[in-house]
Symmetry: C3
Subunit: 190 residues, 3 copies
Amino acid sequence: MSDKYFVHEDALVETDTIGTGTRVWRNAHIMPGAVVGENCNIGENCFIEGHVVIGSGVTIKNNVAIWDNITIGDDVFVGPAAVFTNDLRPRAHIKKTFCDLEATVIKQGATIGANATVVCGITIHEHAFVGAGSVVVRDVPPYGVVYGNPAQLRGFMCECTRELPATDGRSQCECGLAYVITGQNITPAS
Amino acid sequence: MSDKYFVHEDALVETDTIGTGTRVWRNAHIMPGAVVGENCNIGENCFIEGHVVIGSGVTIKNNVAIWDNITIGDDVFVGPAAVFTNDLRPRAHIKKTFCDLEATVIKQGATIGANATVVCGITIHEHAFVGAGSVVVRDVPPYGVVYGNPAQLRGFMCECTRELPATDGRSQCECGLAYVITGQNITPAS
Amino acid sequence: MSDKYFVHEDALVETDTIGTGTRVWRNAHIMPGAVVGENCNIGENCFIEGHVVIGSGVTIKNNVAIWDNITIGDDVFVGPAAVFTNDLRPRAHIKKTFCDLEATVIKQGATIGANATVVCGITIHEHAFVGAGSVVVRDVPPYGVVYGNPAQLRGFMCECTRELPATDGRSQCECGLAYVITGQNITPAS
């Protein structure tokens, strides 16, 4: 354990590649090989497998497992008991190697709601917002808001969490950030 | 630890305000400031934050986290892996204080089904019944039975778990309890 | 602890009836009386109650609780955070005994997807496949693929995970296994 980051005495951290200011709470377990950035918050009972990269400023609430071949970008929020996978069609009698696993990518600033299920092989793009209890089975566009089972696109949300209009053209959020919207594409504007 | 209540040797209890007869099971963690009533059963791996009040006679099954600003009434049943929240629109880069959190209230005698998701800011009223796997996004009336994603009102249930009719007027359950029903309002009758 | 099977030093195993080659991971807890077969993999934070029988070759991923009166056949895969129940209508003030509990049976080779909810009193038949995040409220036929909330039958899957046709008659999977299909009944053919 380093003095750069905090590990609860009942946690088990088996990697050294953890950034300054990160906190790992009670009974969390981080496997050898995992990479965790700076100023992250890893909740109680979380499990992080070895072939995982987690960016900086990430919050992962209690009871979340991040499996091999999942990548979490900077400033991602993972709600409590959100569930990831890395095998589309698991069978106990079929042993998988790392090469059989589907990759899942959660990009910078996205939010994964509490108890959401993220089926593997997809990308949840920058600043997307997955509602609590959703089952996500396909990619989510940047700033997209999805919820339901299966999760469907319901709108768009600014980084600041205000709703964005679904109309084409330039849109300025009350917070000052501006976007250019074209159909289901939203990109930041200057 | 008191001799009034039981704490498993692998649990971590950091509050003294726990009532007589309550049992706290393996790896559960109760934070300083939390208030827990008498004769409760707190399951394995549960987590109870500090700004939480839990009544008496409450059963919380394994793997449940009760966050700040959630209130649990007497005789509530919280099924395994049910998930609560206290932030409607979490973003990792936006730090929240207690004042930013939405309150959630689970009233006396309600049941929260296994793996249900309770979105914050709502009240689940007396003796309501939330089905397993539901995603609850709005208030549930007294004795109301809800399920689905999103959870919708499907009927009414007596305290004793027998189904109640959805017709207006006075209704007496086989168990002896009587109710007056008016639309979606059910109140106990003498 | 036996040298026939592996128990992580932070797990708690209170039964001796565990088969050769089984591995029990960090913070898992197996109660007295439970029966676990050979070559199983019991994930972190799992909980197995005493009146449970688990076959051989079973994989149970992290954060799963197997309650009394649940039976898991050989070669079953239980995904992470899948949730079982054994009481259809729980109320905290109504104490149940073992005789009040509904039985749930997961038969040989079935897959329970990540974060699925299995409502008690049902049978999930051989080689069935429950999709991630599903809420299962009725029996699933052999080789049946179900998903959604509530989970509905969507098709059939071979043991090898390839899709099977929904047309009546004899069908041979690419893997070599053959089936006879009649409506929603699929049986292996020689």
